[in-house]
């Protein structure tokens, strides 16, 4: 389980996170939803120790993050994390070099799934294909948790569909996923848990299926209630 406990984060005098707490379980897709600038990316960066927090605590599998944690959790930011002049094959080789959990069989499967050419240079790829490579590099790791920042942002419809298909496939199964988005449309049916954020705070945390069954409301209905109050 990923536990985010009372996390506060300031940029200068501006408070970005004002005591954010939530949990994300293994085997579930947890979605952080909120408008731009609400602190979604900052939360993911903080979980990965890519930015310091001012107070609070973040635990992954009950432990604070250290160098070994990066074999258990991976982060797929909204920009490619490899050098532009590398080919897809070189990027995969880099991952294989540094991560014991790199699963080449799954990487090859993902290449086929996304119809990517390993000899293509990353800098020559379209935005959609760059996002797919980024996803490939993250998902081909045998990790327990995957964090994704806006995986559908600025990507064409067909690429979005292909990426959404990943979530229902065995490529995600049994892992814990935290993803952020400001447009819920495409993935509403995929989400297990929703964390609504506003102004650096969690305004509501709920199980999508439960709300659907007990209250007959969709995620968007709940969002409407929360944000249009």
């Amino acid at each position: 389980m990923i536990e985010v406990k009372a996390v506060e984060k300031n940029y200068g005098s501006k408070k970005i996170l004002k005591g954010v707490s939530f949990t994300a379980n293994k085997g579930e897709i947890t979605c952080l939803i909120g408008i731009n600038g609400v602190g979604k990316t900052t939360i993911l960066n903080a979980i990965m120790a890519l930015t310091p927090i001012n107070s609070g605590q973040i635990l992954i599998g009950g432990e604070p993050i250290d160098k070994h944690t990066f074999e258990k959790i991976t982060f797929i930011p909204d920009a490619i994390t490899m050098l532009p002049h590398m080919t897809i094959a070189e990027a995969m080789e880099f991952m294989n070099d540094f991560y014991t959990g790199w699963n080449q069989r799954r990487a090859t499967e993902l290449l086929g799934f996304f119809r990517l050419n390993p000899s293509d240079k990353i800098s020559s790829l379209s935005k959609g294909n760059t996002a797919k490579v980024n996803l490939l590099l993250g998902l081909a790791l045998d990790v327990d948790y995957v964090l994704m920042d806006e995986p559908f942002s600025g990507i064409d419809m067909f690429s979005r569909e292909e990426i959404a298909n990943v979530f229902t496939s065995h490529l995600i199964e049994n892992r814990g996923v935290i993803l952020t988005t400001h447009e819920i449309g495409d993935i509403e049916h995929l989400i297990d848990k929703v964390v609504l954020l506003d102004d650096g705070m969690v305004t509501k945390e709920f199980n999508a299926e439960e709300v659907r069954e007990t209250e007959g409301k969709s995620v968007i209905d709940v969002m409407r209630e929360v944000y249009q109050r």
Partner: protein, 277 residues
């Protein structure tokens, strides 16, 4: 250790092109320099001997023989060395900032590698050291080749032959980058390593705290310099030459090691706890 070696290999491959380009520029420019300086001397000799009709002996008495030092003192020789120095100096900053700046988000990947983050620091600083030592080593290989080119152009009697050692020791700038003794080598390159590590810590402070980090970096650097030179200051102003030079040297080395240790610790702390992408 394995991950450090892999990172070092990766970092070095990233500068390999720049390294080869700098070497190429140095070699070509210095060879052109040898040809130009030799030609100038030969033209002058021809002019004096054939046009002004003075004999060889008189010419040599007036103008002297040509030595490789004339090449070394020309811009053709010093220019590319200065360019390499500037290249290395610029690269000290570039080696960090290029992973953050613009569309490049490679720093995400580096910081998420399952290895101690200090390995990133070690790999980058080793790359700078290898680049520096590599450039100097190639300069040492280039020198005899350049001497050979000069020798093939300028006849024996017009030439004062100098060995590579004589050339290096007669020019102060060269004797710093190519020290004459092991102790000097350790001292000069140790000092270089220390300066680069302090600069790296300054860069990491800026990357951690942005504007405030620049001031923190400047204060940190100033503090490191004060600690480093504190034995010299004490010797000069308080103790009135109490230490023997050898004792002072040992004290300086100890201070250098303390500052290096503090700098590495601080960099590790920043990379683990304060760095922000």
């Amino acid at each position: 250790m394995k991950k450090y070696i892999k990172l070092l290999n990766f970092e070095f491959n990233r500068i390999a092109k720049l390294f080869v380009v700098l070497l190429g520029i140095t070699f070509v420019t210095q060879i052109i320099g040898v040809i130009v300086v030799s030609k100038n001397y030969l033209n002058m000799a021809n002019e004096q001997i054939y046009d002004e009709r003075i004999n060889k002996v008189q010419f040599l008495e007036t103008y002297g023989q040509m030595s490789f030092l004339q090449v070394v003192r020309s811009l053709w020789f010093v220019g590319p060395i200065a360019l390499c120095l500037a290249g290395v100096a610029l690269y000290i900053f570039l080696i960090w900032y290029r992973d953050w700046v613009g569309k490049n988000t490679f720093i995400y990947r580096l910081l998420m590698l399952p290895t101690t983050r200090l390995n990133i620091f070690y790999a980058k600083i080793t790359t700078i050291m290898i680049m520096t030592i590599g450039l100097v080593s190639f300069q040492l290989i280039f020198l005899p080749i350049e001497i050979l080119v000069m020798n093939s152009m300028v006849p024996n009697e017009f030439r004062a032959d100098l060995s590579v050692v004589e050339i290096v020791t007669s020019i102060l700038e060269l004797s710093i980058i190519i020290p004459g003794s092991v102790v000097e080598l350790i001292l000069f390159y140790g000092a270089g390593l220390l300066v680069v590590s302090i600069l790296f810590t300054g860069i990491l402070m800026e990357r951690s705290f942005r504007w405030k980090g620049i001031f923190a970096g400047l204060i940190y650097s100033a503090l490191a310099v004060v600690i480093l030179i504190s034995p010299l200051l004490l010797q000069e102003f308080v103790l009135n030459g109490y230490f023997y030079p050898s004792e002072l040297l040992v004290l300086e080395i100890v201070m250098g090691l303390i500052v290096l240790g503090a700098t590495i610790w601080m960099s590790g702390f920043l990379l683990r706890k304060k760095i922000t992408v």
